[in-house]
Each structure stands twice: as C-alpha cells, then as structure tokens.
C-alpha cells in the first residue's frame, strides 16, 4: 500500500506539472488509448483509427499468447503498472475485468477513464464485445461491421455434433461446454467429454476419468518454453494411448477476436481428418 501511495503522490505531482489533458468524459472520441489486456489489445489494434492506440500490453507481443504478435511490434508496450500507463497520458484505458484491481482503481482515482471488458465465455459474447470496444473507441461503425462479418462466417463454419473430444491442458484442466474453448470445440463439430463427467463449466479432470471416458480425440494446449510439472501431464505415457486431434488450442483460442474463426476452421478440418 505504501508503494501505491508513493506512486499516486508522484502521479498527482505529474498531473500538476503537466497541467494538460484532464479526463475526457465518456462518449467523446478518445485520442490516446492504452490497452492493458491481451484481448482488448487485439480488438483495439483491429478497430482503432491510425494513431489512436498509444500502447498495448507486453503479452500482445508474445506469439504463444497473441495471434497478432507481429502487428503488436508496431506499438509501444507496457507491463500494466499504473505509473507507466499514467505517464502515457491516456484519455481511455482498456482493461480486462481480471486486470489487477489495484492498478485500475489507482488509474480511476487519477482521473483516467477506464473501460473494463470481461473475457468472453461464449461465441455470442464475441460480437457483443467487438461492438462495445468499437463504441468505446468512437469507432462504433467499424465495430459493428467486424461483428457482422464474424457472425456471418461463424454461421457457415458451424458443424453438427459428431465425435467425442476432450480439451486437455496443463495440470489436467479441461474446458467445459460453457467456456469459449468449449464453444469453439462444439462449433467445430465435437461433443465435449467434459459434460459427460459433470464439468460443464470446465475444471480439473484427473487422468483416470479421462482415460476411462475414452474420447475419440484429445485437443491439448501448446507447451511453453522452459519446463513445468503442470505440462508434464500432456506427455504422460497413458495419454499417448488416446488420439490427439490434429490441432492444438493455441493463441487463437484465448480471446474473442476474429481469430476464433481460424481456430474453428482448423479444428473442423482436424475432425474431418479423424473421420477418414
């Protein structure tokens, strides 16, 4: 707390020194936007007017998390600390609802307008979020156009439920049907094994019940560099007896962006390959 108090005092002093700007009331078109969240980073890069987006989060440049890592190289990055964000003099900050509460509170106390966006839990949330981010940026028309294109292509990609698959990630986490990953799986034409064992909202599925469920395919996540015990489960000999789907859940699966459609298309192709 002491550290935060120091930061806020320093920041207040900075306000007095700079003397410029001041918070822009909601509804006006923001001129300097900083995004603190991997998902709002991508939507902002796609929707913002040239020069409007001032900085994105450092995660946006990580190719394992961000499908737009190359595009993000064109923007300065922040590590999401109130001090560095404030010094960029943003009139709008885009944050996730899970962004550090202390940072968001502090920025608000300093008079910065912060808009928060929840990570989408369903495919229907994706279009909603595209429109909302567009509106916040003063680019409502672009947001609506992106949402319509998304919904149209999603409708053409959707497949009837076919083989049974399980999402399986580090530590034995499985995405249930009521998660974005679960909806991607369903849209690509798979039945979710997690629902058979009562994990509709996702959760940790030990190896034993997964093996006994005998899914037609397992969709695993990407493995990060370095080593972790949590990811060792993905190379467990017992898991090798199950069929891996020809696609992994990667950066395209994380956020409600148009990249979700690429994930569905790839997984759909993997399902067709399994049927052969």
């Amino acid at each position: 707390m002491q550290a935060f108090a120091r930061v806020s005092r320093a920041a207040l002093a900075a306000v007095l020194l700079l003397g410029s700007g001041g918070p822009v009331p909601a509804g006006e078109v923001p001129a300097r936007v900083v995004s603190l969240n991997l998902c709002t980073d991508q939507l902002a890069m796609l929707l913002a007017a040239p020069g409007q987006l001032v900085a994105v989060s450092h995660l946006a440049r990580d190719p394992l998390s961000s499908p737009m890592a190359v595009e993000a190289m064109a923007y300065p990055i922040t590590r999401g600390q109130a001090e560095e964000v404030f010094l960029l003099r943003p009139d709008l900050v885009l944050a996730g609802t899970y962004t550090t509460r202390a940072t968001v509170e502090l920025l608000r106390r300093l008079g910065v307008r912060v808009e928060e966006f929840a990570p989408p839990a369903a495919l229907t949330d994706v279009g909603v979020q595209m429109r909302a981010v567009g509106a916040a940026l003063g680019r409502a028309e672009e947001g609506a156009r992106m949402a319509e294109a998304f919904e149209a292509r999603l409708a053409t990609l959707r497949a009837e439920p076919g083989p049974r698959a399980a999402l399986y990630d580090a530590g034995g986490y499985t995405g249930g049907e009521h998660t974005l990953a679960g909806e991607i799986l369903a849209a690509a034409g798979f039945r979710n094994v997690a629902s058979e064992v009562g994990l509709e909202a996702g959760g940790f599925l030990p190896l034993e019940p997964l093996l006994l469920a005998q899914p037609d395919a397992v969709v695993t996540g990407e493995v990060y560099p370095g080593a972790s015990r949590a990811e060792e489960i993905l190379s467990h000999p017992a898991l090798a007896s199950l069929t891996r789907a020809g696609a992994v859940s990667d950066a395209d699966w994380v956020c409600g962006t148009p990249h979700v459609l690429d994930a569905i298309a790839r997984l759909g192709a993997a399902r067709e390959a399994l049927a052969e």
């Binding site: 190896l207 093996l211 080593a227 015990r229 949590a230 990811e231």
Partner: protein
Amino acid sequence: MSRKLGIALGALVLLLFAGSLLIGPAALGLGESLAALVRGGAERDAVALVMQEVRLPRALLGLMTGASLGLAGAAMQGFLRNPLAEPGLIGTSASAALGAVIALQTGIASLHLLALPGAALLGALVSVGLILAIAGPRGGALALILAGIALSALAGALTALVLNLSPNPFAAAEIVFWMLGSLTDRSMVHVGVAAPFVLAGGAVLISLGRGLDALTLGEDAAAALGVNLARLRLLVILGAAALVGGVTAVAGAIGFVGLVVPHVLRPFVGARPSALLPASALGGAAMVLAADIAVRLIAPDRDLKLGVLTAMIGAPFFLHLIWRLRRQLA
C-alpha cells in the same frame, strides 16, 4: 531387526501398497482393478491403462520415496549420532530439489533420462557434504540444525528464483510442489528415472549397518574394531545423496519422514543402527504410502501436497525432540 517386527512392517507396507493401488478418482471394483493390473497386449483397455500407467507408478513411487527417506534419515542419524539429522530438516531435500529445478529449467534434464536425478543427486551431495563438514560427528546438535536451516533457506530461495525467472507461465506456481512434494500423475517414466539411484543408494546404506553399530561405541572404539571412518563417512554421504536425490527429482521435497520413522522404531530394535536401517526403510515406505492415501481421501480433487501431511505429523515430533534436547542445545 527382529523377525516379528520385520513381518509386521512388511505386512503393513504390503497392505498400504494395495490400498494405494485401489484408491483413485475412477471408482473401480476390487477384483476388476487387480485383474486389470496384469492385463496386457490387445486386451489392454482403459481400466488396464489406469491401473498400469497411473496407479501403479504412484504406488511404486510412494514405496520408493518413503523407503529412501526413512533409510537416509536412519543412516544420517546413525553416523552423526544425532536424532535431529533428517534430509528434510538439514537441507538435503531442498538442495536436491534445487538441483532438479535447475536441470529442468536449463534443459539439461532433456539431454538424458538420468540427468534429472543426477542433478538432484549433485544438489544433495553438496548439502550433505557441507553439513558433515560443518557439524561432523563431533559437532553438536546446534551446529547441525543451524547449518541445516541456513542451507534449507538458501536452497529454497534459489529454487523460487529459478522458477520465477522461467519463461514458462506455470513454473512459478510449482514452487509449492518442489517444497512440499506430491505423487500426483507421475508415470512409469518417473519410476524408471528414480529407481537406479534408489537401488544403488539403498544397497550402499544397508551395507553400512555394522560400521554404524561400531560407531555407537564412539569413534576410537569403532576405529579399534577395524572401521574405516573416512570410508564410512564417504559412503553415508554418497548413499544418502543418491536416495534423496533420486526421489526428490520426481516427487519433490518431502520432509520429516526420516525424522519420525527412525525415532518411532528405535525402541523396537534396541537402538542398533544395523537393525534400524531396514526397519526405517519399511517404516518410511508405510508412512509415505499412508500419507499419499490420506491426500487422496481428504481432498481428492485438490492435489494436496504430501509434505503438508508429513509435516503435520513430523513438526510436533520435532518440537518434542528439541524439548528433550534443549539442555544439550543450550
């Protein structure tokens, strides 16, 4: 070890080993699961896979981990003639964990199957060597414990540092595993990795029983009886490091087993190290198998760490021992 005690401990271990095989998230019948254990070839169905690839390695690792820690504890206590010497308390386990973490994070572990336990052994070796140099057979309990605390803290801090600096987002969350140990979702690969070190270290320490017996009479008496103290010391260091390194590399640092088990069994074997060594191996195996069963019964879906349970039993024991030793410590 008297025959009766051996049979009783052996039966207990067998019972707990079977219990470990029969308890898991997938509810399988008794006959069904035991039959699945030996099913091979084309008949290898999902149940056989669960029994052979998930439960069997877990039970085997429980057996190996417990036996190793019990045996290493008994040997170190015998050599130092100090009931507080224990791999977890004097930093051997923490140093082995540090060695394992460094091997994993630098990628050395993927070069060769035995590189991981080898690195853990190296970590354990450094710490046992240091402790013996500082506290030695003539050093008091105080020097032993203080040096152990310092080494434990340093190794723990370095482990946390290495994991925090890892590019892997899951690594930092695993500090808990390396400090408290767990047998969840280990595979036959892990059994194979630890086994050579456990077998070699075990064989070395068990063979030292007579030398340690002689040492109970004092160093001069032992030397007069033909015991080569320098060789004995070297073998205790090597054997304990191999055991602790081997099991810590795959199961994390599990404390207090080597403290509690020899202490409980000592009255039954008449305080003779040669009898205490095998008894402590069996007792340690029973303690860890029981703790691992408890972990699965108390919080089946939470991956409760083994060290939590062993510390809950072990820490009060440790306080009790300190209480009795406080005059010597003061």
